[in-house]
């Protein structure tokens, strides 16, 4: 009677009533999701989602009634209108992610059926996956692991129900699923072929990153000096050049408009024919280095002078500058090979260093001589006078360079503001500047003298991590210098900043700036981290770990996969094609682990049911049945079967059977 009453009650359940699901876990998942998408979500959205989930929690826990349709409609309408007003239909990846976050938080208000909760969990999993487009740190990956576990918990809860607490085993099945998945994940990750993108997607995000820009007006680089963010990390395969020779060329700024230097658009010929140096791709020689570029949303490649590309994602641009195939919206890894500088008779010009730079095509040579007509008149006049007293160009250059140290020029991160003719004002009035001022002025002076020259923007130096043997190049290592083409010598690198503040090149910015207190003044924590040795040690260890993470996991790609597969199977199947090798490793690995997991699970279930002796006995029976005609009939006791074996033509088998039967009976009657 009680049973039927119960049934009646469950049938009377209103369809609108909330069913049982772990609401607080859903809120927890949404909260983790907010943390994952924090970097690119607008602050109003985060607050809004927190508000909605709080509202949902209150209605679920206290009022125990679903939100009414009218109210839900209003909330959805307001949310979408605000969202559209904010994003204005600019489709970007972060907008899509934010939309999913908003939509799933609204879904929280109308979870009526099991399938709603399932859908919610699936959307959460997808959001979790695409959060890797924005952040790829190790901690973020851990966060996503927790998220997966929470989502799986919700799905488990939906199936096992409220009885979950009483059945600890179902928890264990959650972890069993996750741990047993491990080896298969590893095999797939290592050997699943990395396919080229099926179609190109507008990938630009709205989030701003600090870093280089393709134009430089004085002061820009000084701003970068306030940032301790990483630009990239480098590890050398052989001996690294000295710190003072680490000039990371980024881009050529060759167009001067009287105030700022810009990169002129690449010439037509290079747009079409920029190609990779395929012969060198997998041959890394002695002097190669690997750069791990932080996301910059740009395609610029930072490379040492006289480098050649050694990975397929780098393209050669004009004048020895490189470019990435796709913008670095994620951290990007590339390899370069460089030529060690040959010992040469030193040039008399201070800081000058001869370069092996690929010439521009003859039609583009004018780019390095372009000057604006009517700007900086005082500099033009000054140069006209100098040209009279220094007819030899090398002497002129020598004079100009020494002039920076002879005269009272100062190096400062906070130079005074300049008017419209900035070179005039800097050279003759303020005489205080940052590398951009010096490089820009020198290049302008040289061009006025008819010497082809250009400003190079990039980074100089780097922090050496001794334990793991790599360099960290920070944003504050951003630098600008000059390249000039001297008659009979060719292209040389000139760094006027080194004349003013030699410490900048020899020891880095923090030493060069010294007591000025301008270095990293906006980020006291980062500044402290550099100065307090314990913190500095910790910072370097963390960076080391992150670098390893990025190198081995985040940037594991096609090239790494090929060399790994080659290492594993190169000896065994020297003639197999790449595809064959992938098939062998992927198929073989998955099969192997599947079978082992299957056997493991099966064995665990099987092993609980029988004692060891029983297991041996059963295995023995299986062999007897398989290889002889002795098969134990159903219902035949071990003793009767033993007699049958003994009477058969296999005396040796009978002996073993007898032993096993004895043990079996002993085991059974002992209890």
């Amino acid at each position: 009677m009680t049973r039927t009453e119960k049934d009646k009650k469950s049938q009377d359940k209103l369809p609108d009533q909330l069913f049982n699901y772990p609401f607080s876990v859903l809120i927890f998942i949404l909260f983790l999701q907010l943390c994952s998408h924090f970097s690119h979500s607008p602050i109003w959205l985060i607050l809004y989602v927190i508000g909605i989930s709080f509202f949902g929690l209150v209605t679920y826990k206290l009022i125990r009634k679903p939100v009414s349709t009218g109210l839900r409609f209003i909330v959805v309408f307001v949310s979408t209108s605000v969202f559209i007003l904010y994003y204005k239909f600019n489709f970007t990846v972060d907008m899509a992610a934010s939309f999913l976050v908003l939509a799933s938080s609204l879904k929280l208000l109308e979870l009526r059926h099991k399938k709603d909760v399932v859908l919610f969990s699936y959307v959460m999993l997808y959001l979790s996956a695409i959060s890797f487009l924005f952040v790829q740190s190790f901690l973020h990956a851990l966060l996503q692991l927790i998220l997966i576990l929470a989502c799986l918990y919700v799905l488990l809860y939906l199936n096992v129900g409220s009885m979950l607490s009483g059945y600890k085993v179902s928890w264990s099945s959650l972890f069993k699923a996750v741990f047993l998945a491990g080896p298969i994940v590893l095999v797939c990750f290592l050997f699943f072929p990395r396919i080229a993108p099926l179609w190109s997607i507008p990938i630009k995000t709205q989030s701003a990153t600090t870093g280089m820009t393709d134009f430089m007006s004085p002061g820009d680089i000084a701003e970068l000096a306030q940032s301790s963010a990483r630009a990239f990390r480098v590890s050398f395969s052989g001996q690294a050049p000295e710190n003072k020779d680490l000039y990371w060329r980024g881009l050529i700024l060759d167009n001067f408009d009287g105030r700022s230097w810009r990169a002129s658009p690449p010439p037509f010929s290079y747009k079409r024919f920029n190609k990779i140096d395929s012969g060198l791709l997998y041959d890394h020689g002695e002097n190669s280095y690997e750069v791990m570029l932080e996301p910059s949303n740009q395609s610029w490649v930072y490379a040492l002078e006289s480098s050649r590309a050694s990975s397929s994602n780098v393209l050669l641009q004009e004048a020895g500058v490189f470019q990435l195939k796709t913008d670095a919206i994620q951290s990007t890894r590339y390899k370069m090979t460089f030529e060690k500088a040959i010992m040469e008779p030193a040039l008399i010009i201070p800081t000058a260093k001869r370069l092996k730079v690929k010439e521009r095509s003859s039609t583009d040579l004018y780019r390095d001589l372009q000057v604006p007509f009517n700007s900086n008149p005082r500099t033009q006049e000054y140069m006209n006078k100098l040209l009279v007293s220094f007819p030899d160009k090398i002497n002129l250059l020598n004079y100009l360079m020494n002039n920076f140290s002879r005269q009272e020029y100062y190096y400062s991160l906070k130079p005074p503001a300049l008017g419209s003719d900035i070179v005039d004002e800097f050279l003759f009035d303020t005489k205080v500047g940052f590398c951009a001022h010096y490089a820009g002025s020198l290049a302008y002076l040289l061009r006025l003298a008819g010497i082809p020259s250009r400003v190079i923007a990039g980074y100089q130096g780097g922090e050496y991590n001794e334990r793991s043997n790599y360099y960290i190049v920070h944003q504050y290592d951003a630098h600008a210098w000059v390249e000039a083409k001297l008659p009979e010598i060719g292209w040389v690198r000139l760094d006027p900043t080194a004349m003013v503040a030699p410490a900048r090149i020899l020891s880095g910015l923090d030493v060069a700036v010294g007591d000025q207190g301008r270095f990293l003044e906006n980020s006291p924590l980062a500044s402290a981290a550099l100065r307090i040795s314990a913190l500095n040690w910790l910072r370097l260890r963390i960076d080391e770990f992150n670098y390893q993470w990025q190198k081995t996991v985040v940037n594991y790609g096609d090239q790494q996969q090929r060399s790994l597969i080659k290492n594993i199977l190169g000896g065994i199947f020297p003639d197999a094609s790449d595809l064959m090798r992938v098939a062998i490793l992927l198929g073989g690995g998955i099969t192997f682990f599947t079978v082992s997991i299957m056997l493991f699970l099966w064995y665990k279930q099987f092993s609980g049911r029988y004692s060891n002796v029983e297991k041996y006995y059963m295995i023995w029976l299986y062999f007897l049945a398989r290889f002889t005609n002795l098969k134990r009939a159903t219902g035949e006791t071990p003793k009767v079967f033993l007699e049958r074996v003994q009477s058969s033509t296999y005396p040796r088998l009978a002996k073993i059977t007898e032993e096993l039967t004895m043990k079996l009976e002993q085991g059974q009657y002992k209890i």
Partner: protein, 321 residues
């Protein structure tokens, strides 16, 4: 020897699987497994993630995708092993009255591992949802819509489980020999006036012990009726076949009711059997083809009710078992 054709093989195979049995142990031979709707949606989700990973060339999204697809893959095994080894049996015959839902008795036993989120029913909509702990036995009554009186066997039992994450459903179809004996609905009937009261038709007083017949004791009969003297002398449990002296024993007769149709008569008889049993009186049953001499007790009641339930039906196997 002639080789059997393919279709014959198939039909042999099918009939070999559909043998009605009292007990089944689930194994790879009778468990079917397929992704559920949610599972197919999950596969779509994986495909979408893989596409994202490929198009954005993002190593961590690859890792994420492989992770959840491996969990999906492992859950196939967990789903299968959850059902594997489950012992389903039904040996007892349950009983109920016409008009009540029929409680088919099903016993579930799981050895060495639990079996979780099981759904049992006769189609995809489970009627019972249950979890079974490790090394335990669970008795369930599956309530199916009311049936007419008689002996009913469960049509086809489906046991399914979406364990652990709902991506995969494992199920089995069993022809379990679960039986319910449905008695006629007890309805009080008016007796035919003029005829001697059927209830007191056979009021006879047994005068002495000598007149009583002796018969061997059967389980279920009241222990107070055992002749302990006989037991001491002959080492045999013996009872008197008729309750002696002092009590009236009634005969329930087929024709003593006003109602004409068989079903109504059976219903009235059923009511009286229950009524007399409650009053702890002696009664006998006299209906066409069946004659049960007066007695009392649970077993006697059930004998009578069985006779009423199966009256006129072919299946007498329960009655004479």
């Amino acid at each position: 020897m002639k080789s059997i054709s393919f279709s014959e093989k198939i039909s042999n195979w099918l009939s070999s699987r559909s043998i009605r049995k009292n007990e089944f142990i689930l194994s790879q031979k009778n468990i079917y497994i397929i992704p559920s709707k949610a599972g197919f949606a999950f596969v779509l989700l994986i495909a979408l993630m893989l596409l994202t990973a490929i198009n954005y060339q993002n190593s961590l999204i690859y890792l994420f995708t492989f992770f959840i697809s491996s969990v999906f893959f492992i859950s196939i095994w967990l789903c299968f092993l959850n059902l594997n080894g489950l012992r389903i049996s039904s040996y007892e015959i349950a009983e109920c009255f016409e008009g009540e839902p029929c409680p088919y008795p099903i016993q579930l036993a799981s050895i060495s591992k639990p079996a979780l989120s099981l759904g049992m029913g006769i189609n995809e909509q489970p009627i019972i949802e249950t979890n079974i702990k490790q090394d335990s036995v669970c008795q369930h009554s599956m309530l199916l819509p009311a049936a007419k009186r008689g002996l009913h066997t469960l049509d086809r039992l489906r046991i399914q489980s979406y364990f652990p994450f709902g991506f995969i459903v494992a199920w089995t179809w069993l022809k379990l020999d679960a039986k319910v004996l449905v008695y006629p609905k007890p309805i009080e009937g008016t007796r035919v006036i003029g005829k001697p009261d059927s209830l007191s038709l056979n009021q006879q007083h047994l005068k002495s012990e000598d007149l009583t017949e002796l018969k061997p004791y059967q389980q279920g009969e009241t222990a107070s009726r055992i002749l302990w003297k006989q037991y001491a002398a002959k080492d045999q449990l013996v009872i008197r076949s008729h309750e002696q002296g002092g009590y009236d024993s009634f005969w329930l007769n087929w024709d003593s009711y006003e109602a004409i149709d068989t079903e109504s008569k059976l219903q009235h008889l059923c009511f009286d059997v229950l009524d007399l049993n409650r009053k702890q009186q002696l009664y006998g049953l006299d209906i066409p083809n069946v004659h049960i001499s007066p007695s009392s007790g649970e077993q006697h009641k059930q004998r009578c009710l069985k006779a009423l339930a199966l009256h006129g039906l072919n299946d007498k196997s329960v009655f004479y078992d």
